[in-house]
């Protein structure tokens, strides 16, 4: 079957199997920032924004999504440069292997949409479904808090 998606602001048509999940479709379309860490919703590596909210793309049937808007980490960088979440992750030592990074950044973006000034505990709770095996979360959490502050100050880069 065919569906139409808006991916990172660009319209895209995909021919899909009825049983295919969004993660597989996105990766097949070349959006390989959407990582497959477990294929069953445990690890959060495939998190993307679906109509503005974070979902594990491996748990969503693509067939349900005709007309939906998807944002991946590939769409975060603006004309002004890296998104503050990307910039603070890069500058704050929050990226080690970087495999979990796209999912963590999209999950954090979802959090900051509703909670522009989160506490550390709120950030940690928001990341409860996003595993990282390299960092111990110390620097990713700190980077998200710094990004939140930058965004509150109205800075995009």
């Amino acid at each position: 079957m065919k569906i139409t998606l808006t991916i990172d602001g660009k319209p895209s048509e995909a021919t899909i199997d009825p049983g295919e999940c969004l993660m597989d479709v996105l990766r097949r379309l070349g959006h390989t920032s959407v990582k497959n860490g477990c294929d069953r919703g445990d690890c959060g590596s495939c998190a993307v924004l679906l109509d503005g909210r974070a979902v594990n793309a491996c748990l969503v049937f693509a067939a349900q999504l005709d007309g939906a808007a998807i944002t991946t980490v590939e769409g975060l960088e603006g004309p002004g440069g890296l998104h503050p979440l990307q910039f603070t992750a890069l500058d704050g030592g929050a990226v080690q292997c970087g495999f979990c990074t796209p999912g963590i950044l999209m999950t954090a973006l979802d959090l900051l949409t509703d909670h522009p000034d989160p506490t550390e505990a709120e950030v940690r709770r928001a990341l409860a479904g996003s595993y990282c095996r390299c960092t111990g979360y110390v620097k990713p959490v700190a980077a998200i808090l710094t990004a939140a502050a930058l965004l509150r100050d109205g800075r995009r880069d």
Binding site: T32, C38, Q86, G98, T101, C132, R133
Partner: protein, 783 residues
């Protein structure tokens, strides 16, 4: 040492990761991100039983399945034995494995592989293979493996370097100094403890993945998520009977390894499919296969006996370990050796030391290299025994360590007695800030006050515990690293290193070391790494070796390039090279200044053009240990048995800190992994040897909300044999949580935990046992 360090301008700075921008923007930089057009996909059929002979295997239905291009089984693949352990040649692991065998030895062992046009077709076809198994009795524990008359797991007869296959013993290790029995008898105080650790898995977020193809000249190209590209090239070439030079291995960005990618687990299958079909092939483990069919940490049973004089000076240490390597012996011998060699030298004051160990086969998943590499298990036994000893002596645990730990200028006989499956290398400690780690750690943690605090009488008891640790920096006298540096005509440099960045940031660290020597900033450094066609040899990333061993090769290559530059500069400046230096990308002569860009241009286009470039190799003569003091605070709910770690601090001596943010990150991540190992992580098995929890929902690794504040102190230290004074840091952090948490629980609740993970049920049972025991003893006193 501090003066030396203050001279650095690039080393010691938290430079951004060279690959960081690509990673935060989600660029397709991992092995699994690029699938060549026309690639076939591979699915694995694994054994459903723990121990069986394959009587027959019928693949006709699979071969007839639409889209199937190739089916591999023991009937059509090479029979030669090898080891999957990605170690230097000759590997100190037994050759007890075949690509596909006529026998299966654990649930998850390879039976067949199917390549098809789509992954779904490959999986469907694999399910249509029928196998006639002659089931054999499983062997599911150390005791079962060693029982008289136990089923023989490796009865094949053609395996090499198995110590005693008829009794399921892979290898034995022994090392002694003095007379430990006499030493224990002479001691004023003795303690004994036996610990038993669990099956644990690395769980890197990226599962194993490989993509293979033939290049236009028919050479085999393997793009793999590996920690050891050169070992993969050598091992796969042998298996496929190709000359080594017909194989190219590329490691792109890697999504974490922690040791599990120091194994050749999937490359041989994909490569064989590509050779048989001529087509690109992609093979990726599922998360379930990552748990079941990849590698794990060796479960061990370790008995430690300590003897000390009345003043707390250690007099005798006896460690006896039995390691379960599972169905194959990958890393069995060397991990066990490290159980002793990465722990016993810490306490070099004891004249009587003994280590005995055996590695046994079972029909359970295969153990392998895992961050800490045996030192993690040995540390748990030794450091909890030390806690008991402190108790018995009435000494503060910190003070007991202060009295006994190794210091600069000292040695331990264990360094020479216990190597990597053979004799080791004698070494004198040339840097050790463990004393400072203890002092600064105890102060920042507020140890004395917290230790003096009463645990409380309510349901929540609070306590603190600590432990000290060492690891190594590479493998002395065995593992070589090489580096090449070329100058470009704009004065920038291209570093070619075989070292393998697992996500640690080591490519950046290598560039920082080169930049420091070459007197340039990071914007003048390009790095190409871990491509067997382009980069010089490097052992790969394991044994905490990259900064110390590969970094030293980079430093030596950079020095040679610097010499060449200064020779050209001397001609241009009409002076002699002595006294010239590269500072900020230029060289100042008596009358004028030349830039590296001018020298680079001249090296290409003259006068007298000649490429400025150099290579260097490094084989370490020693493996200088990093050191760590770890401190934990816990709350124990004595009604439910639930342990909460509420604070964790590690003070680390890793020599010069090349990149502070990355170094802290190494320790923080290792501690998080270690807390998981202590509290929740355990592969559980059915009575028939099947893993019950092969997923990240039921095998619980720590999430962001599960962890305490983690504080890392990097203590000032300088290792004279290391690049810019650096040692290693990758592994040591993981050794701390298990003993420090167990010791904190002992302080809080008076129970001695010996079997991780410390689940509420286990803790509750221990609490109940100790309550019953104390009731009985007070009842005894009353009568």
């Amino acid at each position: 040492m501090t003066e030396e360090r203050n001279k650095f301008t690039v080393v010691g700075v938290s430079e951004r990761k060279l690959d960081g921008r690509a990673l935060v923007t989600g660029a397709p930089v991992f092995a699994g991100d690029v699938t060549p057009p026309g690639a076939v996909h591979i699915a694995l059929l694994t054994s459903p039983v723990a121990h069986a002979r394959i009587r027959s295997i019928d693949t006709s239905a699979a071969e007839a399945h639409p889209g199937v291009v190739c089916v591999l089984t023991h009937t059509n693949t090479p029979e030669m034995r090898y080891t999957t352990a990605g170690q230097g040649h000759p590997e100190p692991s037994p050759y007890d494995t075949r690509m596909f065998d006529t026998k299966v030895r654990f649930v998850g062992d390879r039976v067949a592989a199917v390549a098809a046009e789509t992954l779904q077709a490959a999986r469907d076809a694999a399910a249509r293979i029928t196998v006639d198994f002659e089931e054999l009795p499983p062997v599911l524990s150390i005791d079962a493996a060693l029982a008289p008359g136990a089923p023989v797991i490796h009865d094949e007869g053609d395996s090499l370097d198995v110590f005693d296959a008829a009794h399921n013993i892979v290898s034995v290790v022994a090392a002694r100094s003095g007379d430990v029995a006499a030493g224990l008898a002479e001691s004023a105080v003795t303690v004994e403890t036996t610990i038993e650790t669990q099956y644990a898995q690395h769980a890197p977020l990226e599962p194993h993945v490989v993509v293979t193809h033939l290049d236009p000249n028919g050479r085999l190209v393997i793009v793999s998520s590996t920690q050891v590209p050169f070992h993969v090239r050598r091992i796969v070439a042998r298996l496929l009977e190709l000359p080594i030079h017909r194989v190219r291995v590329i490691k792109p960005r890697l999504g974490g390894g922690f040791g599990v990618k120091q194994e050749v687990l999937i490359e041989d299958v994909a490569a064989m499919v590509t050779l048989r079909t001529g087509r690109p092939a992609r093979f990726e483990y599922t998360r379930e296969q990552e748990f079941v069919s990849a590698r794990t940490r060796h479960p061990m049973r370790i008995k430690v006996r300590l003897g000390a004089k009345a003043d707390g000076t250690l007099h005798a240490i006896d460690m006896q370990a039995i390691s379960n390597t599972g169905a194959y012996g990958a890393h069995g011998l060397t991990v066990l050796s490290n159980t002793g060699s990465k722990t016993l030298p810490l306490y070099n004051k004891a004249p009587h030391v003994s280590f005995d160990g055996r590695v046994v086969y079972t029909t359970l998943p295969v153990a392998g290299a895992y961050r800490g590499y045996g030192g993690t298990q040995g540390s748990f036994a030794l450091e909890t025994a030390m806690d008991d000893l402190a108790d018995k002596l009435g000494l503060d645990p910190v003070v007991l360590r202060q009295r006994n730990h190794i210091r600069i200028g000292e040695t331990s006989p264990i360094f020479e007695e216990l190597g990597e499956g053979r004799k080791g290398a004698p070494q004198i400690i040339t840097s050790c800030a463990l004393g400072e780690c203890l002092l600064q750690g105890a102060e920042r943690f507020n140890w004395i006050a917290r230790r003096a605090r009463h645990p409380g009488n309510g349901p929540i008891r609070r306590g603190v515990g600590m432990s000290v640790h060492m690891q190594g920096s590479g493998i002395a006298l065995i593992d070589m690293a090489a580096a090449t540096i070329r100058m470009n005509d704009d004065g920038s440099f291209h570093l070619l290193t075989g070292s393998t960045d697992l996500g640690t940031g080591s490519d950046t660290v290598m560039a920082q070391i080169a930049a420091e020597v070459l007197g340039v900033g990071m914007d003048s450094m390009l790095v190409t790494a871990a491509d067997t066609d382009l980069t010089p040899f490097d052992k790969g990333a394991y044994a905490s070796s990259t900064t110390y061993v590969s970094g030293r090769a980079v430093e030596l290559a950079a020095r040679k390039v610097r010499e060449q530059i200064l020779a050209v500069a001397a001609v241009m400046l009409d002076t002699t090279p002595d006294g010239l230096a590269i500072v900020g990308g230029q060289i100042e002569g008596p009358h004028r200044v030349v830039s590296l860009a001018e020298i680079g241009r001249r090296s290409y286009y003259g006068p007298d053009p000649a490429q400025i470039a150099a290579s260097a190799s490094f084989v370490p003569e020693a493996s200088p240990p990093p050191f760590m003091a770890a401190f934990a605070e816990v709350e124990v709910d004595v009604e439910t048995g639930l342990i909460r770690v509420t604070d964790f601090l590690a003070a680390v001596d890793c020599g010069t800190v090349v990149n502070p943010l990355m170094t802290e990150g190494q320790v923080e991540g290792a501690i998080a992994n270690g807390i998981g190992y202590a509290l929740t992580e355990e592969m559980q098995f059915t009575l028939r040897g099947r893993v019950k929890n092969p997923d990240l929902a039921r095998y619980k690794i720590p999430g962001a909300a599960d962890l305490p504040p983690i504080t890392v102190i990097l203590v000032d230290s300088y290792e004279p044999t290391g690049p810019m004074g650096a040692k290693s840091v990758a592994e040591i952090g993981i050794n701390g949580p298990l003993p420090a948490i167990a010791n904190a629980v002992h302080h809080a609740a008076g129970i001695r935990l010996t079997r991780p993970p410390f689940s509420p049920e286990k803790v509750w049972r221990e609490l109940r046992k100790s309550a019953v025991a104390s009731q009985q003893s007070s009842a005894g006193k009353a009568t």
